[in-house]
Each structure stands twice: as structure tokens, then as C-alpha cells.
């Protein structure tokens, strides 16, 4: 089966993997973009998401490592073509992938064998994550509708002509009471460089400390370099909360992208095993490519984390 963030792809971009998908400027958005081929599913990502959400497909059957693999080569293809959409797609994929991973982790817990608080938290998070995925999909569909309407409306031009001179002449004489200095001050205020408004406003009440992907990458890097291959489960065994698990997953994706690790998964239900393949000494978390730094991971994940505490 195949996971494909087809929904993430811009309309009009033919998917390089799936030749059968129709392409073209106006081709259906669902058809465009990244598609992958797994043992039990082939097709666009949206379709897979749909199947999962309708319970027609089991999330545990999805080999996330294969999906990630194919996605990374897809993104490389985009970058090679000089497509500046690549970064957008990559960051959206990371979010979806992280959500799917959480879903999968929650589903893999055998019923009745809940042992610790973290397992309970994952179970509680599961339905919430479903809701988030579906909501995300719904807004993508709505966005496409809005786009169509805006395009249709753009063909109508409003009459918006300047006032006929004889009417303009009737306007009351302007009263000007702004002294020169005040006028200059207005300009100075408007022109002064503005600090970008902080993204984190209002999140402090969530009690979720931001987790740095770089930091987690450094931790994982050290462990993997120290010993042999480790399972994803063991790499996240000490994570205190969903947030850290997600951060570690993102870190692994980035490390994979930087070709310092490799993934192995024997079977769809098998353990995801991570091997160090990079240089022995020089690598640190700081080596990670900067590109994904803007991903608002803490904020996004904090939402789910917060929920589990309530």
C-alpha cells in the first residue's frame, strides 16, 4: 500500500512517480503530486488518507519508511527541476507523516495491554489525530473551491472609475491640520522596519515546552553512532510525550535526507530499524540542513499533547 501526500502537491505538477495520473494546469488537484507504490496500495496520497479515514485500510499496514523513501526522491526531483514548491511540499509532508506515525503508534498498541501513561496518551490522541487529518483534508478541498470561485470572479471587472471632474470639483476643500513635523513622524513610523510578529503568542498556556528538532537529532545521532542499528521504538522509548516522539521522527527524516542514516522495515508490521550510515566523527545535530527549521513543529504537536493532558 502506498502513502502519497498527493494533496500536498500543487495542481498542475505531473507526478513523476505515477505515470497514469493525468496532469495539466487544470487537472484535478487530487490527481496531481506525489504518489507512491507500496505492496498493498498504489496511488495518490489523498486516496490513501481517504481509505484510512473510512476504515477501509489499516494504518498499521502502511510502510512509512517506504513512503518516506519515495517522497524524498520525489522532492529531490522537484529540487533538481528548480521547482520552488519543493520546500512547501516537504514541510507539509512532514506534518502529515508525523501525524500518521502517531496514528500508527496508537493503533499498534495491543488492546488491554496498556502499561504506562504514555500508551494511554497515545490512545487518547488517536481519535484527535484522525480529526486533524480529516479537517486538514477538508480545508484543502474547500481551498480548491475558493480558488475556482476567485478565478471565475476575476473575469468580471467592477466599474471603478475616477470621479467625473465636475463632481470632483464639488468635494469640500481639504482641511489640513497636520504640521510638517507630525507628517514626517507618521512616515517614520510607517517606514520603520517591523519585527515579525511572534508565532508563539498565546501558546504558553499549553505548557508544552518547544522541542528542537536539532537537539533531538543530536541525541539520536549520538546513540546511533555509539552502537548498532536501533528500532524506532527504542529510539523513542525515553521520550516524554508525543511532542518528543514527533520531533525525533522529524529529526530522523532530516537525517535520512542528509544521508547519514538508513531505514529498514522487514514487513509492514515490522519494526522500523534505523542504521547509522554517515561519517563517524564530524556529524552533529548542527549539520542538519536548515531548510525545515521553520516547521512549527512545537506548536503543531503541542496541540495534540495538550489534548492528552486534559
Amino acid at each position: 500500500m502506498t502513502l502519497t501526500p498527493a494533496g500536498e502537491m500543487p495542481a498542475g505538477r505531473p507526478p513523476p512517480i505515477q505515470e497514469t495520473v493525468p496532469a495539466g494546469p487544470d487537472s484535478d488537484r487530487k490527481a496531481a503530486g506525489f504518489a507512491v507504490t507500496l505492496d498493498n496500495f498504489s496511488g495518490p496520497f489523498d486516496l490513501l488518507l481517504g481509505l484510512i479515514s473510512k476504515h477501509e485500510m489499516d494504518i498499521t499496514e502502511v510502510a512509512l519508511s517506504r513512503v518516506t523513501d519515495e517522497f524524498i526522491s520525489y522532492i529531490r526531483g522537484l529540487q533538481a527541476d528548480g521547482d520552488d514548491k519543493a520546500l512547501d511540499e516537504a514541510s507539509e509532508f512532514l506534518v502529515i507523516a508525523a501525524t500518521l506515525l502517531d496514528l500508527k503508534a496508537a493503533r499498534l498498541l495491543p488492546t488491554g495491554e496498556v502499561e504506562d501513561d504514555e500508551d494511554i496518551a497515545l490512545l487518547e490522541a488517536r481519535d484527535l489525530l484522525f480529526a486533524r487529518l480529516l479537517q486538514y483534508k477538508a480545508f484543502k478541498e474547500i481551498a480548491a473551491l475558493l480558488g475556482q470561485r476567485l478565478a471565475r470572479e476575476a473575469d468580471r471587472f467592477p466599474r471603478q472609475v475616477s470621479l467625473e471632474p465636475h463632481f470632483a470639483a464639488l468635494l469640500p476643500e481639504l482641511i489640513w491640520r497636520t504640521p510638517l513635523a507630525e507628517f514626517a513622524a507618521l512616515a517614520a513610523k510607517a517606514l520603520e522596519p517591523k519585527e515579525p510578529a511572534p508565532t508563539q503568542v498565546g501558546l504558553s498556556h499549553l505548557h508544552a515546552p518547544p522541542v528542537s528538532v536539532k537537539e533531538q537529532a543530536a541525541i539520536l545521532g549520538a546513540r546511533l553512532q555509539a552502537g548498532g542499528p536501533l528500532s524506532f521504538r527504542s529510539l523513542t522509548a525515553d521520550a516524554d510525550g508525543t511532542l518528543v516522539v514527533v520531533a525525533r521522527f522529524l529529526a530522523l527524516l532530516e537525517m535520512f535526507r542528509d544521508a547519514v542514516i538508513a531505514f529498514d522495515q522487514a514487513a509492514p508490521l515490522g519494526e522500523l530499524t534505523v542504521r547509522w550510515t554517515g561519517p563517524d566523527a564530524e556529524w552533529t545535530g548542527e549539520n542538519l540542513s536548515e531548510e525545515y527549521e521553520d516547521t512549527p513543529m512545537p506548536e503543531t504537536a503541542a496541540e495534540g499533547t495538550e489534548e492528552t493532558h486534559d
Binding site: 484527535l128 479537517q135 474547500i142 475558493l146 476567485l150 470572479e153
Partner: protein, 211 residues
């Protein structure tokens, strides 16, 4: 805005019915100089006529421009090159969309670049969740939306609508220009989101809990 009926009582001089073309032409004359949608009340005040009368005249003109038979008893004819539409809370004349390729050659200015996928999605979330903070939009879309929100504000599609009393975060809502660009009269005319959420009837619970 004052009450047009009362205004009419004390209103001066102009009896639109005495003018060539009557109230209908007077309405057209006013529609020619507006540069944003004019409400029925504004138009009624200008013409010193009851709002109902003005609404009827507007509908009559709309039908007339579309080539329908007017109440004046004129026969149906070919549509005019322009149309009268009621959007974003007011009436305004537009060129008919069939002629867009011709018209656009003359009106480059005001043509706006298409929104990116990211901008459209952010706009959709804000439209359906307004008033809403950037953090909440980010949470739904899963990516940072700061720069997209800035672009949408600059393009006049969304605006600051105060701050969240609890978190102090700036809340955003869509503007009347957004309605205009979408060709709808109010937010209530946006397509329903429910059909796009199959199998998740109780989403709102999750939504409220999570955000």
C-alpha cells in the same frame, strides 16, 4: 445612514420622476459614479425613495442588463456587456465575464495575481474559523502561516479584528473585499464545509477541544 423615508419628507427639490428616464435612470446615474458596492439604503437615501422601491428598480435593471424582459414591458433582448450584481452588501456594475479577455487588455491595473495554494488554504481556514489567531490557523494547516497571513492582509482579503482576551493573540477575519472577490454577499454564502468531512460528524468537539 439616515432613514430614507424620513429624508424624503424633508428632502429638497429633486423629483426623480420628472427627470428623463425617471427613478430608474436616476439609479443608473448614481451607479455610474460609485467605486465600491452601494447598499440599497444608501441608494434609497440618494434618490429619496423607499428602500423597497429601490430594490425593485435594482432587480429590474439587473434583469434588463441580462437581456430579460424588463417590467417596463420592453421585450427580451441580447444581454448587455455589463451586469449589475449584489455582492458584499451592495450593488455594483461589472463587465460581463464573457468579455474578460477583451476587458483585461484595458484594465491591467487591479488585476491581481493568483493566490498560491498555501494562501488559499490559509484563507479558507480563516474564512471558516473567524475570528481566528495565526497560531490556530498554523495548528490546522500544520505549517507556519505568518508570511501568508501578512500577504493576505496586504492584499486586503483579511484584517486584524482585535485580540484574543485570553491569549492576547491577534485575531483575523475576512474583509468585505474578500466577499467582493468571491462574488458573494456574506460569509453565510460560503460553501458548506460539512460535506468535506465524511465520517466525522462530531468534528467540532475535537476541534474545540484541540484548539
Amino acid at each position: 445612514m439616515t432613514d430614507p423615508v424620513k429624508d424624503a419628507a424633508g428632502a429638497p427639490e429633486i423629483d426623480v420622476d420628472q427627470l428623463p428616464g425617471g427613478a430608474r435612470a436616476a439609479l443608473e446615474a448614481v451607479l455610474m459614479v460609485i467605486d465600491e458596492p452601494a447598499s440599497e439604503i444608501e441608494l434609497a437615501t440618494a434618490l429619496s425613495l423607499p428602500v423597497d422601491t429601490v430594490r425593485a428598480l435594482l432587480l429590474d435593471l439587473q434583469c434588463d442588463y441580462d437581456g430579460g424582459a424588463s417590467s417596463g414591458g420592453l421585450p427580451a433582448a441580447a444581454p448587455r456587456g455589463f451586469e449589475l450584481r449584489n455582492i458584499a452588501g451592495g450593488w455594483r456594475i461589472f463587465s460581463r465575464s464573457d468579455f474578460a479577455p477583451l476587458v483585461s487588455a484595458f484594465v491591467l491595473e487591479g488585476q491581481t495575481a493568483r493566490l498560491t495554494q498555501a494562501a488559499l488554504e490559509t484563507l479558507a481556514v480563516i474564512a471558516y474559523r473567524q475570528p481566528v489567531s495565526r497560531a490556530r490557523v498554523s495548528a490546522i494547516r500544520g505549517v507556519n502561516v505568518d508570511s501568508v497571513v501578512r500577504t493576505l492582509t496586504q492584499r486586503g482579503l483579511i484584517e486584524d479584528s482585535g485580540t484574543d482576551p485570553e491569549t492576547g493573540a491577534i485575531l483575523y477575519r475576512t474583509t468585505s473585499y474578500f466577499l467582493e472577490r468571491l462574488g458573494i454577499g456574506s460569509i453565510g454564502e460560503l460553501p458548506e464545509i460539512a460535506p468535506h468531512l465524511p465520517g466525522l460528524e462530531n468534528l467540532s468537539e475535537y476541534d474545540d477541544a484541540s484548539l
